[in-house]
Assembly symmetry: C2
Homo-oligomer: 352 residues x 2
């Protein structure tokens, strides 16, 4: 089985964006009332909307996508806590409906109703609702709800602890994922996303968060930002700062996905980062939509790159494609078919 | 000849820091007058202070370092335009004295008196002074003088054009280099530096700056931040955005250094980025000071990594170590011995 840990619902029916447009318009015009409800979306419209994802799964040979709302549209910096909560609940509800329509193809991960400067009570409630009522298995946590002004405390600050307590209680991980940037310095997918990944890793390296929360798990997407390429710098910084070796630091708590869109980058990632800390992901349908003229294949068909890494053992490949995701997102096991016993046996022997 | 394009004066005599400490103390206490002069520093004190750099040059087999003030100490966010100008001139003057004492080992690059929100007139004047009077060959330009709040316009904005006009007139490049971060989200050397590199590259990719300034040249340090590792993402984004192919985009204008502290990262850089766009650099004595227990050598001894890349041709190695730096920093040629004719001939045949 191949689990893609990083897919966004970038192809939602237009009613969702219309709701958002009205919501934003209402913020600018105090006389206009915010739209209370999302216009009706039929199951057929939802089915149609995810045909691109289903087609890519089929064409590329992946089985199930850990599916969350469009990341760049979370835009937590827009409006206030009520704006964010309304928008977030609609986005998450649609994810739940898609997962119910295609239970073998999608498993849900939620957006959170974050707002700059606001406490995390709404996020705790929404996480609980999504996990306990909608069957979600994780969340996307935005380290910069201001959208490029970086006004929130670092992820290791006690500000975040109430949310982490709920994550641990529910046994769900968070992907660290920023949204759109309203700072003209930062292009979203070309700078802000990768910067946030790099920033979060260095925050985790610098503090003792995982002593306080040994069971807390984060996925740092986009191949870990700049981190694997600069692994020597981070090993050196950790040593200079008298921090644990990186392997120990990340072991049970920090994971990278494989959203790196060329084979040389994927090869570096797989060579440098312990295989137990890498989850297969593609970010489809997402940041880069085109076909690479050098290969004739989609840039974001990351499975092709992984499949070309000839030195990867079958056991490691299985970890990357399936076992690590089941371990990091344990609630997935209740949603998916269990591993076939034959596979489990061969995995066991591969470990010996 | 091996030219290290990225060295900072991190070992300056303590009088320099004392001046800075007094300057900052005066900002906090309006009754205290800012120190007008730097306490006397003798030539012998300067000679002593760069013994670590000279020793590393000798041990590692590099010849000359393009030398600039300590980057993290520029701290353009502290005080006002006068604070920044006073501090900058002292820092640059010391670089000039070191270069005069060791003309075969150091060539100067200046810090700029940037200040958040201030126009660039002081920077234009200081660049002119440093190049025309002190013999400097380039500058370090901070894309975020606010120190992690990112309040300046992108580097492609017309705000920067008066400074670029002076750079082109003087035929000097700029290394894009941020300073300390006063935003608790960003560790300086572990996040802010790499984020700035990534951010600047994406700004350059998104706009037509080099149509307006075909002769403008930037070095993006720290191996280009996240860029080479995500080269596929950037190729795909450029294609989606109908921008030129990356090779065309960077050819005459954007260069990366080799400040990547492990061999897998260096190998990716040299494999992916056109060799004409890479300059050898080490960032010594700098971000990471320790010895890698896996190799028994300094993390920042980047020449060791480059020397281990067996598939690099002699011609390419010569470009990386010397020719590219002479081309990007042409004023260096007046400061250094010309290339030996024999070398020039062999280089020519390597090109054929």
């Amino acid at each position: 089985m191949v689990i893609d840990c990083h897919g966004h619902y970038t192809t939602a029916p237009k009613q969702l964006q219309s709701f958002r447009d009205e919501q934003i318009a209402a913020l600018k015009d105090p006389k206009a009332a915010a739209p209370k409800t999302l216009a009706s979306i039929t199951d057929d419209q939802l089915r149609d909307s995810v045909q691109p994802q289903l087609q890519f799964q089929n064409d590329r040979g992946t089985d199930v996508t850990i599916f969350s709302p469009r990341a760049s549209a979370m835009a937590h910096h827009i409006g206030d806590a009520t704006t964010s909560l309304d928008w977030t609940r609609h986005c998450n509800d649609l994810i739940q409906r898609v997962c119910a329509l295609f239970p073998e193809n999608f498993v849900g991960v939620c957006q959170l109703p974050q707002t700059p400067g606001a406490p995390l009570a709404h996020c705790v409630e929404e996480l609980e609702r999504c996990v306990n009522e909608l069957g979600f298995i994780g969340c996307n946590l935005n380290p910069d709800p201001s959208g490029g002004h970086w006004t929130a405390p670092p992820l290791t600050d006690r500000f975040w602890y109430p949310f982490y307590e709920k994550m641990v209680e529910l046994d769900v991980p968070a992907m660290v994922h920023v949204s759109a940037s309203c700072n003209p310095n930062f292009h979203a997918t070309g700078a802000h996303y990768l910067n946030a990944d790099t920033t979060a890793f260095m925050q985790f390296l610098s503090a003792d968060l995982f002593k306080d929360f040994p069971a807390l798990r984060f996925i740092i997407p986009h191949g870990g930002g700049a981190v694997p390429y600069h692994w020597g710098r981070y090993r050196g910084l950790a040593q200079d700062m008298k921090r644990p070796p990186l392997g120990d630091l990340i072991r049970h708590n920090i994971f990278f996905d494989t959203c790196v869109y060329h084979i040389a980058g994927i090869e570096l990632l797989l060579k440098i980062v312990p295989i137990d800390n890498i989850l297969f992901g593609s970010e489809m349908v997402g940041a880069v939509r085109g076909i690479d003229p050098e290969t004739g294949h989609y840039f974001d068909d990351t499975k092709r790159y992984v499949d070309q890494i000839s030195w990867l053992s079958d056991g490691d490949r299985r970890k990357l494609y399936e076992d690590n995701a089941r371990r990091v997102y344990p609630r997935m096991n209740a949603r998916l078919k269990p591993r076939a016993p034959a596979e489990a046996v061969s995995e066991k022997s591969a470990r010996l």
